[in-house]
């Protein structure tokens, strides 16, 4: 603890080291406010990025290694053709399991679209066989040729047609949110740098007096750095906690929901707590660089 304190003192000075700079400057207050807003947005963007990642993962893995064989045939040939498909699947290496989807299950799937009053017997439902691949899966070209030859009305659907664009979109969404996070960080650096420069310009007389009595640039910079680092970290903590509270209050996603919840899961709740630390470190580096650069420009 003592060691940590020594490091902090070396970096941002003793408690009260920033007293040489008057507290009334608006730049410090604005830094805290901007920091709170930026942290709120950062925590939210981070949550979006994680959710987009979860979405891509769930869409990618949910139907991976599965396929469906749809058989279209006249009612009197349907049973025979389905059985032929089952025989083909039985003798194909790389097919782990398969089962015929019952009419009741098919009607359940159609119910959200057609309602409950549909006369099921009158509907020309296709035969549907659910297939679970194993290992590296079947030799797809060979399997398709066999199906075409033996059951011309059978269609193999491995879901890639609609699954891959969804996964791609979810991944793109994740990259966009990460980009937004980077932009938020860049904006934060710009705000803190501008605020530090404003504070330096407003206190030029004080800087002159400090130089007059033998203060080094590092000492003067540290007074400003301490002020801005502590304000940025405190503001960011408030912003992060507010956003976390908002995420807690959001309704939890239902089990099996199409979209995942924006809430963090388990240890991921620790991630937003790193934002105030990152904000403090960023403010430290940005203010120190701005202060030393500006001080060197003075006579």
């Amino acid at each position: 603890m003592q060691f940590l304190r020594r490091i902090m003192v070396a970096l941002i000075g003793e408690s009260g080291a920033d007293r040489v700079v008057p507290a009334s400057g608006v730049a410090g207050g604005l830094t805290a406010l901007a920091s709170a807003c930026v942290a709120f947005l950062a925590v939210f963007a981070l949550s979006l990025a994680l959710s987009a990642g979860k979405l891509a993962q769930s869409w990618s893995s949910a139907l991976e290694g599965t396929a469906t064989v749809r058989v279209s045939a006249p009612n009197d040939q349907m049973q025979a053709q389905v059985e032929t498909v089952l025989r083909v699947l039985e003798t194909t290496p790389g097919i782990g399991a398969f089962r015929v989807v019952s009419d009741a299950e098919k009607l359940d799937l159609l119910q959200p679209w057609l309602g409950t009053d549909v006369p099921a017997a009158a509907l020309p439902l296709p035969g549907v066989i659910e297939v679970q691949e194993e290992g590296i899966g079947p030799d797809l070209d060979g399997l398709l040729l066999r199906l075409k030859a033996e059951v011309p009305g059978a269609v193999w659907d491995d879901h890639d047609r609609w699954r891959l664009p969804l996964v791609k979109s979810a991944n793109q969404l994740r990259w966009v949110t990460l980009l937004a996070l980077a932009l938020i960080g860049t904006t934060f650096v710009a705000i803190v740098t501008l605020a530090a420069q404003t504070a330096l310009a407003a206190n030029i007389g004080i800087i002159g007096t400090l130089r007059l009595v033998g203060a080094t640039d590092t000492y003067i910079a540290r007074a400003f750095v301490r002020r801005f680092t502590l304000r940025a970290a405190a503001g960011a903590l408030v912003g992060a906690v507010l956003c976390m509270a908002m995420l807690v209050l959001l309704p939890k996603a239902a089990e099996g929901s199409f979209l995942p919840s924006l809430r963090y899961d388990g240890f991921a709740w620790l991630l937003p707590l790193t934002i105030p630390v990152i904000a403090g470190v960023t403010a430290f580096v940005a203010t120190r660089r701005a202060a030393l650069r500006n001080l060197r420009a003075l006579s």
């Binding site: 040489v20 007389g205 007096t209 400090l210 007059l212 009595v213 033998g214 001080l295």
Partner: protein, 225 residues
């Protein structure tokens, strides 16, 4: 202590000082006189490295100020006490904190210098005003406070720019007496003033010399009073 060798200073093309060749030895007491605009303040700024000569060299404590880094100059200034006409206090700090500023910037703890600071406040007769903010002080109190700040770090050289400019004659005498006492303690003193009465008054207090500037040139380089 301070050595000007062919030193000159110009702001762009405007030449303020030229051909300065003068040495101010350790323990000496110098008055710098001249009309307004003659370059007194610039000369003093060269004496405490607030400016660097644009021509020639200025040596402070044997070091060429033109080749020093910013940090080296900052450390050199700790051996120089500067009294400005406008005092240059930090208005949000108390007089006590302002006077202690040269010690605070080198990291000294308040408890370590508290006793010396109280003695110094007594010496400049400001004990009763120690917790006042600079804007609450009179002109004389500010000047004495500035002098206290200039000497608290135990400097070898004290540079004062019109230290009696904004105060009455009696208070000016008091400041002059304080500076003469410091000179007797071995401090080198350089005072810029256009107040000839002050220079005459110093005659009875201290063995001082006069530097007179006119149009950027030294006319008298160390004449006795």
């Amino acid at each position: 202590m301070i050595e000007f060798v062919n030193a000159g200073f110009a702001y762009g093309k405007t030449e303020i000082l030229r051909d300065m060749n003068v040495t101010l030895p350790a323990g000496s007491f110098h008055f710098l006189t001249g009309t307004s605009g003659s370059g007194k303040t610039t000369f003093l700024k060269l004496c405490h490295a607030a400016l660097r000569p644009t021509l020639g060299t200025v040596k402070l404590f044997g070091q060429d100020a033109t080749t020093q880094t910013r940090d080296e100059i900052a450390k050199m200034r700790r051996k120089i006490g500067v009294v400005h006409q406008d005092c240059q206090f930090l208005d949000h700090l108390s007089l006590r904190e302002n006077i202690a500023l040269p010690l605070a910037v080198v990291g000294q703890k308040a408890e370590k210098y508290e006793a010396d600071l109280n003695d110094l406040l007594l010496w400049v007769d400001l004990s009763h005003r120690a917790d006042a903010l600079p804007p609450e002080l009179s002109g004389g109190e500010r000047q004495r406070g500035a002098l206290a700040r200039a000497i608290i770090g135990g400097p070898d050289l004290i540079v004062a720019d019109e230290p009696t400019g904004n105060i009455d004659w009696e208070m000016g005498q008091r400041i002059l007496t304080l500076l003469a006492e410091l000179n007797k303690l071995g401090k080198t003193i350089v005072i810029a003033t256009h107040d000839l009465n002050l220079i005459r008054a110093a005659k009875s207090l201290v063995s001082a010399r006069v530097l007179r500037l006119q149009k950027g040139e030294l006319q008298l380089a160390g004449a006795e009073l």
